[in-house]
Symmetry: C3
Subunit: 460 residues, 3 copies
């Protein structure tokens, strides 16, 4: 095969095919406009979807820098594993369950595999069915690709909260359940056109559908799996477990911020009109402003609330701002994005403290960032956009009840079946050495854990 466009390909592939133009047939013109729409919408799905995939690397770097070094390799494995599993399960069943023939019901179709439409296959094999193809608006699999990268985000949220003590295989099995069943059902109610969608529930890019669902699953997991050994001491104090690699966490946040432009921008779902282009521009601007406001709010609040300029709270503030704006990033009064992001960030800073008080061990703060800010963002649609508060609240509660209950049940069943937690000795040694037989940084001399040192000192 020659890696140049042949003259033939150029002529044949042209969406304003010579025949159509020169013959001046009205139908041909219309078709050519639809074909261009089709190309632009498809390309928008692909390029923004690629940026959303990049968020997986962001979660990985954020989490690998947040955990003890003795668990950093394991968190790398969990993240690349969950992205792979999510992509496969969504192909096998998930997409059909979420999007195919939902029609205001509760769930789509239980059917295996997904692929290009029949008309697309005909077109690819040379049949002249261009008009049948292009009236769909975009290539079938470009939409699948864009939706798939969203599933992976949901699963990524869980891995951060449960790091350092959840069993690898239990985590992967839960990932299968979450991405193949729980998330697609939530999605069917909403983006799939089910009952919540019929009520008028608004969630542009998934503050509730993606982020809160992931947050609820993480919270359920944290309840069942429990806190790390020694995190909450018997005297009521909390063991401080700072990130082991701050630049890695920061890089992760920058990657997520970048990917979020795809997450929210691509959720316009089209690029075929000036309206789409304007909306997409507004979405990117609001996304950036909300994140920036999240950073500044946490910068101002962390000293009064947490006693010091807390870089981690500030980094999480950026993410909380992003989650908050995700339900309604298409607002046209951009100053609201500043307000929404700042409030989301404040909730995340306060939420970190709250979780410590109720003794929920969330290593990266994923629950405050994705769940608390996600709820806030979903309700905030009523302030700046035209959301109905009652409907938004029903959406938050319904998704919350289902996602938490289904996740809790799944974790419980997994606990009975295989155990969801590593043994105390594995936890102390670290999952890297105990389960993977490697270290994340084998050539670097590392500090002994202070608690271990204290224990040895007390014993001797």
């Amino acid at each position: 095969m020659i890696r140049k466009l042949s003259d033939d390909a150029l002529r044949a592939g042209g969406f304003i095919a010579a025949c159509g133009i020169l013959m001046g047939a009205t139908g041909a013109y219309a078709a050519s406009g639809e074909e261009l729409q089709f190309i632009l919408n498809t390309f928008s799905f692909l390029i923004w979807g690629v940026l959303v995939m990049w968020m997986c690397a962001g979660f990985t770097m954020l989490e690998a820098g947040s955990v003890r070094t003795k668990n950093a390799s394991m968190i790398c494995l969990k993240n690349i594993g969950l992205y792979s599993i999510a992509g496969i399960t969504y192909y096998l069943i998930g997409y059909n369950l979420m999007y195919v023939d939902v029609q205001e019901g509760w769930v789509g179709t239980f059917k295996f595999l997904y692929g290009p439409s029949g008309d697309e296959l005909k077109l690819l094999s040379g049949e002249a069915v261009i008009a049948d193809v292009t009236k769909a608006g975009y290539a079938t699999m470009s939409d699948w690709f864009f939706q798939m990268v969203f599933v992976a985000t949901t699963a990524s949220i869980v891995s951060g909260t449960l790091a350092e003590r959840v069993n690898l295989w239990a985590f992967f099995v839960f990932t299968i359940v979450l991405t193949m069943i729980i998330y697609p059902i939530v999605g069917a109610w909403t983006w799939g056109g089910g009952w919540l969608s019929a009520m008028g529930f608004k969630d542009f890019a998934g503050s509730t559908i993606v982020h809160s669902t992931g947050g609820w699953a993480a919270l359920a997991g944290a309840c069942v799996v429990g806190a790390r050994f020694g995190k909450f001491r018997s005297d009521g104090s909390v063991k401080v477990t700072p990130p082991s690699n701050v630049p890695s966490v920061t890089l992760g946040v920058f990657i997520l911020w970048l990917g979020w432009f795809g997450f929210n921008g691509g959720s316009q779902l089209a690029l075929s009109s000036a309206t789409d282009a304007i909306a997409m521009s507004n979405v990117l601007v609001n996304t950036n402003l909300a994140a920036a406001a999240g950073v500044v709010a946490a910068l101002c609040l962390s000293r009064p609330l947490l006693g010091r300029i807390d870089l981690l709270a500030i980094l999480n503030g950026a993410l909380a701002g992003l989650v908050s704006i995700t339900a309604g990033p298409d607002i046209v009064d951009h100053y609201w994005a500043l307000v929404i992001g700042a409030v989301g960030s404040a909730l995340s800073v306060g939420g970190m403290r709250l979780l410590e008080i109720v003794k929920v061990d969330d290593i990266v703060g994923a629950i405050p960032v994705h769940l608390f800010a996600g709820i806030w963002g979903t309700l905030a649609v009523c302030i700046a956009a035209d959301g109905n508060f009652g409907v938004q609240l029903i959406g938050v509660l319904a998704v919350g009840a289902f996602a938490f209950a289904a996740s809790w049940l799944s974790w419980k069943v997994l606990d009975k079946m295989m155990g969801v937690r590593v043994s105390q000795s594995v936890e102390e040694l670290g999952q890297d050495t105990a389960e993977l037989g490697i270290e994340a940084y084998p050539e670097f001399v590392l500090m002994p854990d202070q608690d271990d040192v204290d224990q040895i000192r007390n014993n001797s």
Copy 2:
């Protein structure tokens, strides 16, 4: 809301709306062409702008790897903070000051906030004003987004030079001044259509406007803040402070290189004609060739000039090549890009030495890379493109005089008001522990600073 394009949306949203096409009205055709132009230009701003945002992560990784580990968290905070602040100030005031009604004068309009045009708001709320909207050529906020990410770059340059000793709050206040006033005024003279623009000053993507301005601000800061304690010894020798994490610096340079494709490519400002597409292609090719030539030049020069193959000089050579080509990346004789990049790189290698001789402490070499190569690149427009040397020189001098003076004054006022420099004890302990209460790599055993060791040895 359903996350699928409805048939209605497809029909209504189509830029070649059925009515226009089928009715065959001449006006409708023209409109549809303009709408497509509008979409492509807008999308170009957005996607390239997203890549420019990514450069912030590049500066962060470069700087976090360049500083002592004891200041790596603080540099992460400064970078995510400056990007957030720049985005907000540019929204609040900066953009209006730079672009709104400059008309060959000295500065734009002092007015708060920025947002979609009135016609865009009408279109979004359903009015049939498509022709009024699309004649603007692109969505209002897509342009804002693209310009905003450029401001952040200017501020990023300063953070690198002043790392390890500048006070956090002073740095953030300076960032506000730089992004809200200094940079927008320089921008008003040039890209905003002010007096330098009227004279014919050429600076395609900002060798002077962005990079030199940042470089001058950094130089002014270095003069006021002073060198790190112990950097320039009384015996005339210079304390070597190698990067603490070389792969992190390298990653930063790769990120910047990638982002620069958006920086220069997007500065074509349009994607609606074959001419734009060709120019954008040439721009990307020249950008890459100049950076590559910068690497190779520094690789060849570093041994004769610096006594060894100096990886840092080579990495900075890539950046100097990129800065150099930024004023005129649209040249069609690509070999000139090799020459321009190589000379810029040589200036950067030599500039590093020069700064040591004049005792200016620039931790990452941002002044040689962004200022020296930026001046060279602006003048080089006369060689390969059709710049007028006198005008280019006036631009370099005028921007230099204003940016340096305004920055120096700002730093001086800040020094009086709040102090711009941390105490010696904070500097010795590191800003991470002293000001943030964390360490960048808390689990890793680190070397004691050799100078501290020497001091202790001398004392005992």
Copy 3:
């Protein structure tokens, strides 16, 4: 210059120029359609090409995390150096040799430099030659840019295998030979339209042309340069050399996965018809599924085959899946992508063991990943797509014979001329300190090499 689109520019630049539309000349319509095609194809080359460039950062992070810390800076230098050299040589000679006037022969034209077409230059200087320009289908230099980033990939593969003991200058000279001569000749046979192309050899994005060629060059290098001192012990055992920075390796794999969307998606070479958009969507989906299947396959196989859950084998499994699908990512039955990726991953896991048995020292496993999976992927085109097994096999063998022989010869000549290997003392000390005079992580306390410790212990 003003950084806003002027009204004039908007009018003049419009691809549906007022004159053409209003005059209603048939030719003008056709031209405008071709111009849009031209823009979309060009933009596709540029944006996907930018993502492929990003793969260089991926190789760098993967390799910098895989080598001993004492060689991490050197591998950073090699990678940024090879990307720069590849870009320059391909501009100087490589592209002409690969693509210009090959015409079913063996090699293109020996001619220096490459640049915009004559018609493009005329258009840029204002002549009305739009139709002559746009019939080419894309901007000349956008294609060059996209092809250039592929050359760099080939060279990146070699650096990983030979890390820690190949001489810097020998490596760079070999990079020149590879990117200026060997790869362009292989490319001329195939994508350039030479004899293999004429036979019907299929390799969509380069399983053989890019990845196997790089793999053969790496294998030849490994044979000539030899294994690291002490890697294969006299008692038949193999010294374990785990990655020094696992999160860095993981980040590298994520970057490569992201970049591969550009690698395979952009290789559709066009975006100007619904067929292109559909094919590009299918390509991205298959690329992702194959990588995901590679991860899951290695996850399942590593315990039975390697005795433990081997993160490195799993990360390489993702890459092997990506390499495998690269020859035919446009298949429409997506489940085949799962099969092809999984088999490729299995071959890579097994290949790692095989290389140890035959005592080939490949630090990152580049040969199993790029060569073994590349061969498999090229042959697999016969299963899922409509490749001819005989022709595919001839392609694999011919490219293998030529790339290996030419590389082996080059390495041998280099060995005679300048030596391809560092001295044993440099190897023990590490290339960073010995040749660059820096350390990658100078502030971190590092473990002494266990073998050195053993040796000292034995001596005392």
